[in-house]
């Protein structure tokens, strides 16, 4: 049951040097997501034009998992159509429940490193915070 490598370089790097952690001036969609039980907090901003996520960013406070997961998510979905982002998010959330195939995992690219969170139930909420926030935001369309 050792998860010796959970805080690996990809994760810590996204946390320490996030690519998308700033305010997005030309965002046209914004939503705050909060984990009441642990205080994680993310404000997700997207710029969606003609059904495509042209840009995205986030600000917030929280553990490395919640912050890095949001950053990794933005890496994955920026430039993709909304429908594709929703599809990937669905795969990601299924991964957390331990129910995806190897091919699906590959589609998630770096987000695949969060697979083992399934063994850390207390952290699942952290890992999915950004993704749930995005789903809610895109559902608003």
């Amino acid at each position: 049951m050792a998860h010796n490598t959970f805080y690996n370089e990809i994760l810590t790097d996204h946390n320490m040097n996030p690519a998308h952690k700033y305010e997005l001036p030309d965002a046209n969609m914004t939503l705050e997501g909060v984990n009441p039980s642990c205080g994680d907090d993310i404000i997700l901003q997207l710029k969606v034009v003609d059904g495509v996520i042209e840009d995205g960013a986030y600000t917030g406070d929280g553990c490395a998992i919640s912050q890095a997961s949001a950053d990794i998510m933005l890496d994955l979905i920026i430039g993709k159509p909304v429908e594709e982002a929703k599809r990937l998010s669905e795969i990601f959330l299924r991964m957390i429940k331990g129910k995806i195939t190897e091919e699906e995992k590959e589609e998630l690219e770096e987000a695949g490193i969060l697979e083992d969170i399934a063994h850390m139930p207390a952290r699942v909420k952290c890992a999915v915070l950004g993704w749930h926030t995005m789903e809610e935001l895109l559902a608003e369309e």
């Binding site: 010796n4 959970f6 805080y7 370089e9 810590t12 320490m16 642990c38 205080g39 553990c63 490395a64």
Partner: protein, 410 residues
């Protein structure tokens, strides 16, 4: 030093989970403790030799079950030096004990315009019941503020009381800062002010000798599971004349005298407050835990925990970027060390330590108003019991020292 190590070994052998899992350094004792063999044996023995519904049966087995249950009450009485077993009510946990007082005493005897005084360091279980009871009767809830060391002076306490203060609820030892409140003095002052004094003993009864007659508190609540007993059994001590005047809280079997269609009279203390089938198995476990404490003795327990506290303070405060809440003196912590590390979220600290087998807690420690008051959202807490060792403190310190590097800090 060899003496201490020998003792470490002897004690740890009593705790199966600890002894069989040397890979784990269990340092979340303020949340719940591990259980010694003799407690597990006592529970099993109860179910294998004496199990029946206590208090009512006329047959031998039920008499034995009643004896186990009432002997546990007597042991508990002696443990906190209550005047009578009638003053010992078995509950599920400290939270239920406090709710019992809040429902039965506070909602009956508090009136509009009265005030309830609690401190900002209270655990939610010694805060929410009063907040709700105060709301229900139109009383005010007052907070006594503390500074970062957590110290409450007599002056501060007197200043926080008003002539309307009818109830004071205070923890004897903070589950966040480990600081001990001078409950004896505050209870006296509260009484002079005409207020009832409720002491939350969840963190004190397992760690220091508590004598309710000496402290002269009106109520004392604590949990078995934080002192080597099984989960599901807690205690409420209450002064007999107060308990006598209180209405029952939970209603049902075992707590009645006569039941008529439209009215009822209730059993004598303490049964009046114990509705439904009692937890005799849990009481058997609590009794064994108390016996374990008595055999080891508070001399030894306090010496060991104080030693660990000093040692931990020394080791932890040497770590860069760490900030420990509360007093600078290790011995003032009663084994409880709550801290932050710059740039690393407490949840990540706990998760990284878990990877090293070091079990500590992260979060608000059920004390959100205190966290807010101390201007932090969330912190990390290591808490020791008498069965912990220097070696475990070392493991904690080493793990913590490596956290920032693991998170990518250079």
């Amino acid at each position: 030093m060899t003496d201490r190590k020998t003792m470490d070994d002897q004690i740890r052998r009593d705790f199966p989970l600890i002894y069989n899992h040397p890979e784990i350094a269990y340092l979340d004792n303020a949340a719940t403790t591990q259980k010694p063999q003799m407690v597990l044996d006592a529970v099993r023995d109860y179910y294998e030799e004496s199990n029946a519904n206590p208090l009512r049966g006329l047959y031998d087995l039920s008499v034995r079950a009643t004896e186990v249950y009432e002997d546990a009450r007597e042991l508990t009485r002696a443990f906190i030096n209550a005047a009578s077993t009638e003053e010992i009510v078995f509950t599920r946990n400290a939270s239920e004990s406090l709710n019992l007082v809040a429902y039965s005493w506070a909602r009956t005897f508090l009136k509009e315009g009265d005030a309830v005084l609690i401190t900002i360091m209270e655990h939610h279980s010694n805060l929410l019941p009063w907040m709700q009871a105060a709301k229900a009767v139109g009383a005010e809830l007052h907070y006594l503020e503390v500074d970062v060391t957590g110290l409450i002076t007599e002056e501060m306490f007197r200043a926080a009381l008003t002539e309307n203060t009818k109830l004071v609820a205070m923890t004897q030892i903070s589950n966040v800062m480990g600081v001990q409140n001078d409950v004896k003095t505050f209870a006296r002052i509260a009484h002079e002010n005409g207020a009832v004094f409720v002491c939350d003993g969840a963190q004190s009864v397992p760690h220091i000798p508590v004598d309710v007659q000496d402290l002269d508190v009106d109520f004392l609540a604590f949990s078995g599971h934080k002192m080597a007993a099984p989960m599901g059994i807690g205690v409420l001590y209450g002064k007999r004349d107060l308990l006598d005047r209180m209405p029952p809280f939970l209603y049902g079997g075992e707590m009645i005298e006569y039941v008529r269609r439209d009215s009822a009279t209730y059993a004598e203390l303490p049964h009046k407050f114990e509705a439904g089938t009692v937890n005799a198995g849990g009481a058997a476990g609590l009794a064994a835990a108390i016996q374990y404490y008595q055999t080891l003795g508070f001399d030894v327990i306090c010496e060991r925990e104080e030693h660990l506290s000093r040692y931990a303070m020394e080791k932890l405060s040497a770590i860069p970027y760490i900030h420990i809440l509360g007093a600078a003196d290790g011995a003032a912590h009663h084994g409880i060390f709550t801290f932050t590390i710059d740039g690393v979220h407490p949840h990540d600290i706990a998760a990284i330590l878990d990877e090293d087998g070091v079990d500590i807690r992260a979060g608000h420690h059920c004390a959100q108003p205190l966290m807010k008051h101390l201007k932090t959202l969330s912190t990390t807490r290591a808490s020791f019991a008498f069965y912990n060792t220097e070696n475990e403190v070392d493991r904690l310190a080493e793990s913590l020292a490596a956290v920032r590097a693991k998170m990518g800090y250079k």
